[in-house]
Amino acid sequence: MTGTGTNEDVFDEELFEIIRGTYRDMQLRVPLAHIQRRHHRVARWALAPGRIRLVFAAALAVMAVAVGSWLLIGRTAGGSGQVPASPLPSTSEPAQGKPARPTSSSTTDEGRCADYVRAELDATQRGGEAIPPLRLTLAEGQTRLLIFADDGGAITCWLFGDTFAVQGSPTAVNATAYPIGQLSYSSEDSGQDWGGVAFGRVPPGTTNVTISFPSGPDVAATVNGEWFAYFAPPGADSNRLADATKVTATTSNGDVSQLIQHG
């Protein structure tokens, strides 16, 4: 038995070398300077507490200006007095072409997310596009997740305390991701250790949706009309989403299933 193990070890090492050799010419062709420049974009989505306070203070200042303008306009023009719902302009636009940092004066998650998503769309020259309707809202602990989706794509807005992350259509090419009346499935990780989510669309009349894994029990998703979502807390459960094998929708006409392929 010992001899067998030794032979396997030797053979494994040889196989390791063959595998390494197969990938030997692959090199990341991204210069360090590019990484260092890119960090300004990432920093938008991972605001440090000090930055949050700075943004909050700046937002308050802009709010004060907006309210002052509203009072002035309301008095002189006899307007309705409603504060415009559009997102506030960035209050800390950095020099030399750094992207605007999304801010929001909204006090609701939906309002904040709408502002963040709008800013993201604007930043990608898709400012004329409408934000998809809000389909689902999930919350667990400090994490809240809002899913905006239609048959042309989806945008997720993750909120954790005062920090946020927006992912989705601004950079996606998924013209028919969630066709009406069909079962569809996608999943994503927050990218911030806040957990992951699987979501998609279901046929009309769906009452239950379950997601299956190669090991362990199925999980039941939340269904809201023609949409479903399952929130996986950070850790092993979140990582498990990458191994999901099947999604099944239970409808009045029977079960509809779709096998999940992982890239």
């Binding site: 396997e8 090199q27 062709r29 360090l32 991972a46 992912q167 996608s186 994503e188 990458a242």
Partner: protein
């Protein structure tokens, strides 16, 4: 601090890319995800540098970034198409054997592929592989064993191993 990051980046960027390419089977997506992960590491370098394994941290972040839904929607495809996406290598030096082996790796179940990539190409110890993937070290060994067994079975008829190696392998019940 930046100097430390620069050293880390220079030393590990290629190994991380190879591991993520092998784990995902998607060269272009892996490049994006790895660049994103190193960027996040740069932003948080003071904290990442204290991590028991900064390389594991970057790989985990890259895999998480890759798994974000929009990347997957763009690139999810039947498994058989993955090898074509994974290659050819950047410098165009791929041999037919390289492509064949990458195709075999791409055909492995996803967890075996990830374990193999992290253990062999990123050279992470089993407990760090487990930490990246959220599984026990013992499970890492099981997946690695199965992955190697599958590769051996498919490679043995065609790979130019020495007669002694092949003989030993056969004696060992491989």
């Amino acid at each position: 601090m930046v100097g430390d990051f620069a050293e880390f980046y220079a030393a590990r960027k290629d190994a991380v890319l190879r591991a993520v390419v092998a784990a995902t089977g998607d060269r272009a997506g892996a490049e994006d995800a790895v660049a994103e992960a190193f960027t996040r590491a740069y932003v948080r370098w003071a904290r990442v540098a204290e991590h028991p394994s900064p390389t594991a941290w970057v790989i985990r972040t890259a895999l998480n970034a890759y798994r974000s839904w929009w990347r997957r929607l763009r690139r999810e495809r039947p498994r058989g198409e993955m090898a074509a996406v994974a290659g050819p290598g950047a410098d165009g030096h791929d041999t037919d054997t390289d492509v064949d082996i990458r195709r075999l790796i791409a055909d492995l179940p996803s967890r075996q592929r990830e374990v193999l990539a992290l253990r062999v190409l990123a050279d992470l110890p089993a407990h760090e592989v487990g930490a990246v993937l959220g599984i026990e070290a013992a499970t890492v060994h099981v997946h690695l064993h199965r992955a190697l067994q599958a590769l051996r079975q498919r490679l043995l008829p065609s790979q130019p191993f020495s007669a002694d190696d092949k003989s030993e392998a056969e004696m060992g019940g491989l």
